[in-house]
């Protein structure tokens, strides 16, 4: 059973997987291309019954990374989908059409890291005040 769900993930995502890393039996990191994020999330969330935990945006030296953490509660395994976005025009499709739970976290990443979410219904400030200076993103490394 425990092996099952991960091999199902591997099989369903197929050649969308750019890099597969097994940290241990409970934690998996899968790198995918940013254009596949909606499709991969649908596979995990709708088809396989994963639960969306949250997403974490990281400013790395070469690019931005977003990790979408999904939990499979029947076995307690966590699969994190990693996408890399270029620094010039960080942009990715919104997941709000797959699940409502993405709405707040995408707003948060948008305002703190300046990553644009295409197709988000309500991309406005969540944590920062509405008159926060434009183009000032607190979590970007200087």
């Amino acid at each position: 059973m425990k092996e099952d769900i991960i091999s199902q993930v591997k099989q369903k995502l197929g050649d969308k997987i750019l890099n597969f890393f097994e940290k241990n039996k409970k934690r998996y990191y899968i790198e995918i291309d940013k254009k596949d994020i909606v499709e991969c999330s649908k596979i995990l969330f709708d088809d396989l019954g994963f639960r969306f935990q949250t997403a974490s945006g990281v400013d790395c030296e070469q690019n931005f990374e977003i990790l979408y953490h999904f939990s499979y509660d029947k076995t307690g395994q966590i699969v994190s989908l990693r996408v890399k976005l270029d620094k010039e025009k960080p942009e990715i499709e919104s997941l709000t059409k797959v699940f409502k739970a993405a709405e707040w976290i995408e707003r948060e990443i948008w305002e703190l890291l300046g990553i644009n979410f295409v197709g988000h219904p309500n991309l406005k400030h969540l944590l920062l005040s509405d008159d926060w200076p434009q183009g000032n993103y607190p979590l970007r490394e200087k």
């Binding site: 409970k26 934690r27 935990q53 949250t54 939990s71 076995t75 409502k100």
Partner: protein
């Protein structure tokens, strides 16, 4: 403050929030009402944004448990718990058995006092002030035990990477056991008061329903999810054997299906029995283990990333840590359960009457103090109509009315 005249211009707006000096997570609910019915709701948060994720990347690893402990006053041990789980996941270490048990004991004591706090406030909101007084009276005994163990009633400062900071000496164990035994009849009483009272049935059943479909869509957590028929609990699903004792003890995860306030209340009451069970089993292990073996030394955090989570009283707390090999993390992502649960009020509160709004918004346990200040403003003539106290009064009057009808 209220100038949303566009599409809702004929409706009144009841703002709940945003600020109160006691709150740990501020939120601002804008209820659009039509007569007595809530027709739409806007949720605004961020009033208490302190940038803890950023602050955390400026501390070294050993300081962070204290920092993240201050995210929340009520579930103050859940954040360090998830944080050390994340770092230990990164390291891949296995901590001593005694430390695992102490961690779980502290976590469960916290759940007890948090649920008792919620129960008291929920009672107050619907006009059962006796429940409020009694519930908080028993909460005291839990806080006393926490003080006995850690020296603090809140912010216990017990967690560190690789173990815990303080041991539970053998001579404290009988006192903890006695507290647990004394608490069981009290919980029996609360259970009876909720389950057998026709007024509470009439007042809370079918109120603030969150369907299973919506619950999955909003990815809600903890008692909010379990009352809507979603069988999840991090303690059972992913016990993180190397960091906690939950894999070594037996307990049940109560799940109900109606998704209303009544079920959320019952879930929390039933969970308290399970917490006591866990504490007692952990104490039994402690008795057998030699004292003092409570940590392993960790000198160096290698580059890498780790994910840790823990079932806080309100649901899953999630921490993500990334290290570059220095003494500080380069990224620390924190997601508290209310982040997911509060958003679900968007569907749970709409369609309810104003008298039910207070208890519905409160049913996800969003750390109440936040919503303590409210005024209702008539948009047309800018007149203040309701205060928060009026809202509670409305809620309590409805209970009185039901009492007379029965």
């Amino acid at each position: 403050m209220i100038n949303d005249m566009s599409e809702n211009n004929k409706r009144k707006i009841i703002p709940i929030g945003p600020y109160h000096p006691l709150q740990e997570e501020a939120e601002f609910f804008k209820l659009y009402i039509d007569g007595e019915t809530v027709v739409d709701i806007d949720i605004e948060i961020g009033y208490n944004h302190r940038g803890i994720e950023q602050i955390s990347t400026m501390r070294h690893y050993d300081q962070i448990p204290y920092t993240v402990e201050r995210i929340c006053g009520i579930c103050s041990t859940s954040h360090p718990f998830a944080y050390v789980n994340a770092v230990e996941d990164l390291l891949g270490i296995d901590i001593p058995l005694r430390a695992k048990c102490i961690r779980s004991i502290i976590g469960e004591l916290e759940r007890l006092h948090s649920h008792l706090l919620w129960l008291g406030l929920a009672g107050h909101f619907i006009g059962y002030n006796t429940v409020w007084m009694w519930s908080w009276k028993y909460r005291e005994s839990v806080c006393d035990i926490l003080e006995l163990i850690s020296g603090n009633r809140q912010h216990y400062s017990m967690f560190k990477i690789g173990g815990v900071r303080k041991d539970i000496p053998k001579d404290l164990i009988p006192q903890i056991e006695k507290m647990c035994d004394d608490l069981i009849p009290a919980i029996d009483m609360f259970k009876g008061a909720v389950m057998d009272d026709p007024v509470i049935h009439a007042r809370l059943k079918g109120v603030g329903v969150l369907t299973k479909e919506d619950a999955i869509n909003f990815c809600v957590l903890g008692p909010t999810a379990r009352a809507s028929g979603i069988d999840i609990d991090v303690r059972r699903d992913d016990p993180q054997q190397n960091s906690t004792a939950y894999g070594l003890v037996e307990f049940k995860v109560p799940v109900l299906n109606n998704g209303d306030v009544f079920d959320k209340a019952v879930i929390r009451i039933l969970e308290m029995y399970e917490s006591i069970k866990i504490i007692k089993q952990c104490l039994a292990i402690l008795k057998k283990e030699p004292e003092g073996n409570i940590e392993i030394k960790v000198d160096f955090i290698p580059p890498g990333e780790g994910v840790g989570h823990y079932e806080a009283p309100r649901g899953e707390v999630f921490h993500y840590i990334r290290s570059d090999g220095s003494n500080r993390p380069i990224r620390h992502k924190i997601r508290a359960p209310s982040y997911m649960n509060v958003a679900s009020n968007k569907v749970a509160a709409v369609g309810q009457s104003i008298a039910d709004a207070a208890i519905t918004l409160a049913a996800v346990d969003p750390c109440y103090c936040c919503t303590e200040r409210t005024v209702a403003v008539d948009v047309d003539n800018k007149e203040v109509v309701y205060t928060w106290n009026d809202l509670i009064k409305l809620s309590q009057q409805k209970t009185e009315k039901i009492k007379k009808m029965l």
